[in-house]
Symmetry: C2
Subunit: 233 residues, 2 copies
DNA sequence: ACATGATTGGAACGCTGTTCCACACTTGTT
DNA sequence: AACAAGTGTGGAACAGCGTTCCAATCATGT
């Protein structure tokens, strides 16, 4: 509605290269080209600049990865209501879906849990899961254990699922997760019955083909443990 | 007792550079110099050879990491007896100790769970944990969920603990885990009570200073969930 | 004594994250 | 209107990485 040709603000240039734009491009690159696809040269090209310019806005690659992770996690956890029944499912599925959409996320989060336990990503997730745990009817003494157990299960299982999906897709666009799980079960059935009786037995009974149901079963298992048996603190 | 100078077997040369020796050196390098310390050049130097020679015995770095992981995990899980009460604790602590001794192990295992779900490391761990689960008095339908939950918790929690330990050591040789946990709790107490009520509450009540007890509490929590509440399959 | 094939180790290639610096552009002051 | 200052840019250059290549060496069968 106001298109005079360069009036007062000549608009520095087309899209002036901000930290936000860099993080956006980084996330896009990670999603499309994978973890190893994020390089400063590829990023430069996509942003139509040189590698040096990026370093004006971002200290190094590590900080860039933290920022990208933080952004995605924040969005995933943004819309949560506390205290409601099934609220843990919402938080868990929020992370689950984010990790499925961004397969690089799970390794990144676990790496940041290790390298920076007081960092924003760590606290964001811990707080969000923990809030649902504290709404459960359990003594405060088991909060930490319960939250930790849930967090590790969510990140591990969701990461595993995302990896399975990515692998299934790489085997051909027609093959879905279901077909891929059959492949895995098939491989497991080849194992020696003497050395690997359990894995074979599980393979025989068939792997679950509904990933979300399987994931939530694990969540419920832990919740059951939390509410059923605090061993008298 | 038999020191004739080079009798029949002149002994090719001092230590002829086998795949086993390479893996040994790699593990040593990972333990002492960390994940980023394992390079083919450092490895060459330690083995008194060139980078090219290593490639005769090992296809690439990825395969070398798989072999190193496999070796350490195999040893950690070697002495396990099935079916005994508390056997899950033994398996869990076996992995826990191995990860504490080799801080690079947890990230490696989770990466291999993703990249190669039918690989030896994956199956080794899954089988060993699962065997203890199947000895529990639960229906076979919950075996997969229970084993998965335990596996992810063990790897996540043990990895976190190892990272904490490494971090504590890097802050000074006198500081132990206990002092480090106080540091973390201190940082958490600085958080805004409005945005992070749960994390603050947990920090106030103090973090557990006995890492193994804390770890086993999580294991027991999951086991309780497994035995108490299969929600009527 | 020779030929063969299994090993070795150093040089070289392409890639990475990162640093450096000469250049443009915007802005505030005269 | 002209200039100084400082913010932002982008391309060149560096060290180090995994990996490949190949001429030289060793152990061995003939």
């Amino acid at each position: 509605m106001t298109p005079p040709p360069t009036p007062k603000k000549p608009e520095r240039r087309t899209t002036p290269l901000s930290r936000e734009r860099i993080v956006d491009a980084a996330i896009d690159l990670l999603d499309t080209a994978g973890e190893s696809g994020l390089t400063f040269r590829a990023l430069s090209e996509r942003l139509a600049t040189g590698p040096g310019a990026i370093y004006w806005h971002v200290a190094n690659k590590s900080e860039l990865l933290v920022a990208a992770t933080n952004r995605v996690v924040s969005i995933a956890l943004a819309a949560q209501k506390a205290g409601q029944p099934g609220a843990i499912h919402d938080v868990a599925l929020g992370l689950y879906d984010a990790i499925e959409k961004h397969p690089w996320l799970a390794p990144q989060i676990t790496a940041q849990l290790s390298h920076n336990p007081t960092g924003p990503v760590t606290i964001l997730i811990f707080e969000d899961i923990g809030r649902q745990v504290s709404a459960l009817d359990v003594p405060a003494s088991s909060w930490f254990t319960a939250t930790t157990a849930l967090m590790h299960y969510i990140l591990g299982a969701a990461g595993q699922n995302a990896a399975n999906l990515a692998r299934a897709r790489s085997l051909g666009p027609d093959a879905d997760r279901s077909a891929y799980m059959d492949t895995v079960a098939g491989a497991w059935k080849q194992l020696s019955p003497e050395d690997y009786p359990f894995t074979r037995a599980v393979a025989e009974q068939g792997l679950d083909h509904d990933d979300r149901t399987q994931f939530l079963a694990g969540i419920d298992l832990i919740i059951t443990g939390v509410t059923a048996g605090p061993p008298t603190a």
